[in-house]
């Protein structure tokens, strides 16, 4: 349910035409209101959302490649870059859309326990094999990333340098990383065997028995329906009435 709403929300955002800053702003305000209701400080959400920033670089060239009124020109001698208004608007649209989308996804994670997320996926007909793999993966992420950070720490502990000695080559370092990956693989592979035996010992024979996710029922469908209607209305308003530069 929340998954559907979140994906719907992001989809609606991405359908918005270039320059719909007001609509994006409205969507963001709605999100912030929701997050207040769920008692996640907006600060936490905003902080989590900055992961999208590095990607901004990918959109920047657009600033210069759209035709239109020039804002300014940077002269690099050999060639000059001209930033244009439509370019600027396009870039900003992308950045805002992506920033608000990331916050929507963040909110889904902050308000939903992993366990319920998995139930959600089962309802969405994600194959059981994948649901089972993802829950196990999630469980062992902490264990294996713990192992990999201890390995990196052990490497750091031996990464001494004598004053004046030259730095080890990048190639050598990359192959050390390769060795560490190989070592971690063997540890993980053996772990998977032990986990399998532990599962077997408790009656596992190839099928994961779990409590069935409680069925969605009428209220669930009604909720999804109303979210869909709301998003469609939002979309319509954004296209037809809200001013864009």
């Amino acid at each position: 349910m929340k998954i559907v709403a979140t994906v719907g929300f992001i989809l609606a955002l991405s359908l918005l035409p270039v320059g719909s800053f007001i609509a994006i702003g409205a969507a963001w305000a709605a999100l912030v209101a929701l997050s207040m209701a769920a008692r996640i400080g907006p600060v936490r959400m905003v902080r989590a959302s900055f992961v999208a920033l590095p990607f901004a670089a990918a959109a920047l060239p657009l600033l210069f490649t759209k035709d239109g009124d020039a804002i300014g020109t940077m002269d690099f001698g050999l060639f000059a870059l001209t930033a244009t208004w439509p370019g600027l608007i396009a870039v900003l649209t992308i950045l805002f859309k992506s920033w608000v989308s990331v916050q929507a996804a963040t909110m889904l994670i902050f308000t939903t326990r992993f366990h319920d997320l998995m139930h959600g996926f089962e309802r969405l007909r994600l194959p059981r094999l994948m649901v089972a793999i993802i829950s196990l993966m999630y469980r062992y992420l902490a264990v294996l990333t713990g192992e990999s950070s201890r390995m990196m720490r052990a490497r750091a502990a031996r990464s001494a340098a004598l004053p004046g000695a030259k730095r080890p080559s990048v190639r050598w370092q990359a192959s050390v990383v390769g060795n560490m990956v190989g070592a971690l693989f063997l540890r993980s592979y053996e772990r998977s065997e032990r986990v399998y035996v532990a599962m077997q010992a408790r009656g596992y024979d190839g099928t994961m028995v779990r409590h069935e996710a409680p069925p969605l029922g009428l209220p669930g469908f009604a909720a999804i329906g109303s979210v869909a209607v709301a998003l469609a209305a939002f979309e319509l308003v954004a296209f037809l009435w809200l001013p864009r530069p």
């Binding site: 657009l62 996804a105 994670i109 062992y140 190639r171 060795n179 693989f185 592979y189 998977s192 065997e193």
Partner: protein, 233 residues
């Protein structure tokens, strides 16, 4: 700060809706095939094996090394997953990795996830593995031939993912094709070298310690060695 291969984890908003949905459709189709194919040659060990292996790929991506200039390089893992787990299971595992990264760690968006899985999981693993097989066969199929095959496949898989992402960005009108190609493909040509070195080192490490695990396409239970099962023959 900027860990380059993760530029392949596009957040939402960078792909236009039609591009994102088309990539989702392609991804779902390929995953459905992979699930069926993987189901054919994996037994009841599949769940624990693939679950732990997905966590492994994720954890292995954490190992990094300093590149002069302040950034750091690390593994992406598509070809490695394909070689170790077989192409179909490897594809599923990579899809789970990219999926969890997007869903739980905001490393890549939800609507754009279809494209991200396609670029890294499917092209990287299925495509990378196919290339690996072809080259390895051409080189005679021995371990000596398989390592260079893995190296080439690893480099190509990263480069191909980057080029594909560049095309998707251009199609989405997010950026111009030329700029995207130069930025993504150029940068990832370097990243790909790191990927190749790491993949080869990892495979030769495994060959030195547990050659049996490289022999089989899908794995059977072998000797579990707990932290305490001491003296080996």
């Amino acid at each position: 700060m900027v860990t380059p291969p993760f530029l392949l984890h596009a957040p939402d908003g960078f792909f236009s809706t039609p591009v994102a949905l088309a990539m989702w459709a392609a991804t779902i189709a390929v995953l459905a095939i992979s699930l069926r194919k993987a189901g054919e040659d994996l037994d009841e060990r599949a769940v624990p094996l693939m679950g732990v292996m997905a966590a492994f790929i994720f954890a292995a991506q954490m190992f990094n090394f300093q590149i002069p200039g302040g950034t750091s390089g690390h593994l992406l893992g598509g070809v490695l997953a394909g070689v170790l787990l077989g192409p179909w299971a490897g594809t599923i595992v990579m899809a789970c990795v990219v999926g969890v990264q997007g869903l739980v760690f905001q490393d890549g968006g939800l609507v754009s996830m279809g494209a991200n899985i396609f670029n890294m999981g499917i092209v990287g693993t299925l495509g990378g593995f196919a290339l690996y097989r072809i080259i390895a066969a051409a080189l005679g199929g021995e371990l000596k031939g398989r390592l260079p095959a893995a190296a080439i496949a690893a480099w190509v898989s990263v480069e191909a993912a980057a080029v594909l992402a560049a095309f998707q960005l251009a199609l989405s009108d997010t950026t111009s094709l030329g700029a995207a190609l130069v930025a993504m493909a150029g940068w990832h040509a370097l990243i790909g070298i790191g990927e190749a070195v790491i993949t080869v080192a990892a495979l030769s490490f495994i060959a030195a310690s547990r050659a049996d695990l490289l022999e089989m396409r899908h794995m059977r239970p072998s000797r579990p060695r707990t932290a305490l099962s001491g003296e080996l023959p």
